[in-house]
Symmetry: C2
Subunit: 294 residues, 2 copies
């Protein structure tokens, strides 16, 4: 079964489109995990990130269809962090939740193939179900990822319209009636339908469209009827449930909505201050987000 169908099944089973972003940051970890901040090194920090992410996965795996570790925060700790990243991906898989590895990888030819083989598929070294990919190098730089998705029942999410204030610098420029992001979207739709298990379902090639640009989200949903949309920017970055609803179809399928800080650092939110411990704050924040999206 292709990744598109696996994600459909996961969203239907969990009855919500929430993606929990695993973005560990030392300064925001719960106090109980920051044993001795004055002497911690990269290795000790990496171990704390592992405990943090495992505990979150324990809480959210029964509740949500998918989680998204952010590679940058693990790479920031050097090889020790990357060792833990792989463990986090495997742990999530063992708990029955799908994984988007957010690495925004990109390169050409056989180098792109190397990235695809590194990350995509349970038999790959990192074992992720899917990966985010950046499109600046062109269609021929994306094709090797698409090929790997077919071989490994994996998926990619191509950056189309990102959630940051400066995303328009390139993405919103229009040539001959189509913006750069629309041109990327057309590639995504073309590959999404080719990788769909049936013509009227979602394929394995998806995209990223930020919650912070709701009008573009509406247009992109129409432009890519077969593509899963990963929607970042919910919560901390300003996107609301009203903003993201346009990414979803009538069945509640077609998009996953990511929240990172709002869930994983819920212990910092006064609203959850009464939780018995930080993991219960994570649980309450996750349940609240699921409810908001209903």
């Amino acid at each position: 079964m292709g990744f598109g169908s696996r994600l459909t099944s996961a969203v239907l089973t969990k009855k919500n489109p929430v993606c929990v972003g695993l973005d560990p940051r030392w300064q925001q970890l719960p106090g109980s995990l920051r044993i001795d901040p004055s002497v911690h090194g990269w290795q000790a920090t990496a171990e704390a990130y592992q405990s943090f992410c495992f505990a979150i996965i324990d809480v959210v795996a029964p509740l949500v269809p998918i989680v998204k570790p952010q590679s940058a925060f693990f790479e920031e700790l050097g090889p020790s962090g990357v060792v833990v990243l792989e463990r986090v991906v495997r742990y999530a898989a063992s708990k029955g939740v799908l994984v988007i590895l957010d690495g925004k990888r990109n390169d050409i030819g056989t180098t792109a193939t190397a990235y695809a083989k590194a990350y995509l598929g349970s038999n790959s070294p990192f074992g992720a179900d899917s990966l985010t990919v950046s499109p600046y190098l062109g269609r021929d730089s994306l094709d090797p990822f698409v090929e790997r998705c077919k071989e490994a029942d994996a998926g990619i999410f191509v950056l189309v319209k990102t959630s940051n204030p400066g995303s328009g610098f390139m993405q919103d420029l229009s040539i001959d009636g189509a913006t750069i992001s629309e041109r990327v979207a057309d590639y995504v739709q073309e590959q999404a339908i080719k990788t769909a298990d049936a013509p009227n379902v979602y394929g394995s090639i998806g995209c990223v469209v930020g919650a912070t640009y709701p009008e573009q989200l509406i247009a992109m949903r129409r432009r890519m009827p077969n593509a899963w949309i990963l929607i970042p920017g919910y919560g901390a970055q300003g996107g609301s449930a009203d903003d993201v609803k346009h990414g979803l179809d009538a069945q509640g399928l077609g998009a996953v909505v990511n929240s990172s800080r709002g869930i994983i650092f819920a212990h910092e939110n006064p609203k959850y201050a009464s939780a018995a411990d930080w993991t219960r704050a994570v649980e309450s924040a996750t349940l609240d987000m699921i409810e908001q999206l209903r």
Copy 2:
């Protein structure tokens, strides 16, 4: 001293602009390093990559100013490969050769900062002098890398015009008289001059322009007078010495020309078949490239 000046000094000392690309691929390693291909796992492959890269660095460090490990080929082996990647970067530094880590990283805000902190500067976890960066997310996604370059005397090479056949899909599109790659180039020049140790020298923010598009290389050299250009695509991808000369100024500064396969797999080239061993083939191929560029 900023990275731009450090690279100037290295090119003047070595009297050539050659960058040796460290792109290990199992099938092309010298036979002496492929001990038992039938049983090798990722860990064993990673160790072979380490031996391969260390031996190349031993040969080329006295000859060339800079080397460029390709992150994808190390990541392809999972965490074991990333452990070796860090060792290769440190080993190159210990031998007095500068390092471009070719990772094409990109993200927004504090996530971009995390990548910058992971890779840039000798005190960072990976310890590289410079990193390649992809610009699709906009100027605000590049700024955190620029900030880190200033703090850590490090550099970045922003993808402007890549060497692949499909690079025009986005990069060559023109809006209001400027192509997408020219718009990225203008950002690079703006930051290059700001990070230069003097107004008439090269700064720490550079770019990538492929040897396979010589006319664009000429135009880009003029458009970014303060930016180092990393030129891939020499040799195996089809770029010649005539093609790349337009990237260099009258002093032979302003660009570094990368060759990967042509040098590191020289043992496969009949021209070097008489070499005493594969490292002597690497040495001969490096000396030949230096000579071709003179």
